[in-house]
């Protein structure tokens, strides 16, 4: 999962993630991008981004000065789509992807409330928290 996320961040956004060191604080997450893989099991992948990371990704992805909040959400949706698609190709069996969703603020926090992230990355000074739910 971390390898897939790292590949997407490096290839599309020119950002190099590392393991998060120091205090973990998912409460600083502002945007949650989510995609579900339906196959032999049901996997829900969630990526919780800080405001700064989301804006930096959009800034690196889009032409200069062409950023508004709807485009930031769109970039994060596409990120979840790429992570989900590449994760599916690594798993055995046939997996269908849902359309990705993005939640913001309280909704984003509520979606992962009380859960431990399965991975925490430091993306050039900004945190990214990874969650996977298996049903």
């Amino acid at each position: 999962m971390k390898a897939v996320v790292s590949e997407v961040l490096e290839e599309m956004f020119y950002l190099v993630p590392d393991e998060l060191e120091g205090e973990s604080n998912p409460g600083e997450g502002q945007y949650l991008a989510e995609i579900t893989l339906n196959g032999p099991r049901r996997l829900t992948v969630q990526l919780l981004f800080s405001q700064g990371l989301a804006e930096e990704m959009a800034s690196n992805f889009l032409p200069d000065g062409d950023i508004d909040p709807s485009l930031v959400r769109d970039v994060l949706r596409e990120t979840a789509n790429m992570v989900g698609g590449n994760l599916a190709s690594l798993l055995d069996g046939d997996w269908d992807l849902s359309l990705p969703e993005v939640y913001e603020g309280v909704e984003a926090q509520g979606a992962v409330l009380g859960r431990e992230p399965m991975g925490e990355l430091d993306v050039e000074g900004e945190p990214l928290y990874l969650y996977v739910e298996v049903e």
Binding site: V8, A58, E78, N81, M82, G85, S89
Partner: protein
């Protein structure tokens, strides 16, 4: 000679990113059109001359595979080269795309160089074929 490109993706951000890559690649591009699903793309192809289509697979309303099927069924459109730009990695889906006439495949995430290489290969082949015909 300049060629016209149609970018089909439900993500506005991805369309903008691909447009930027093409602009920076030095291709002699004329018009660049955009569509957010296969149905809109068919409308663009009906109204405008397009030399190359870059198309996602997973889109609401009409996906990229159904779009290819419709393009292949239309005599006037079936020669337009289509490159699939997608997260889709399932071989059966990619094989179906090839069977329906897709000329190239770029897997997301991709580097600008990868997209440029694939476009060069497809446009080069198509232009060479036209010159021979």
């Amino acid at each position: 000679m300049a060629f016209n490109v149609l970018i089909v993706d439900d993500s506005q951000a991805m369309r903008k990113m691909i447009r930027k890559v093409i602009e920076l690649s030095g291709f002699d591009v004329g018009e660049m059109y955009e569509a957010s699903n296969g149905r809109e793309a068919l409308d663009v192809l009906t109204d405008h001359w397009v030399d190359l289509v870059l198309c996602d697979v997973h889109m609401p309303e009409m996906d990229g595979i159904e779009f290819l099927r419709r393009v292949k069924a239309e005599e006037i459109l079936k020669g337009v080269p289509v490159i699939m730009v997608t997260t889709e990695g399932r071989e059966d889906v990619l094989e179906e795309a090839r069977r329906l006439g897709a000329k190239g495949y770029v897997k997301k995430p991709f580097s600008p160089e990868r997209l440029k290489e694939t476009m060069t290969k497809v446009i080069g082949e198509e232009y060479a074929r036209g010159a021979q015909g």
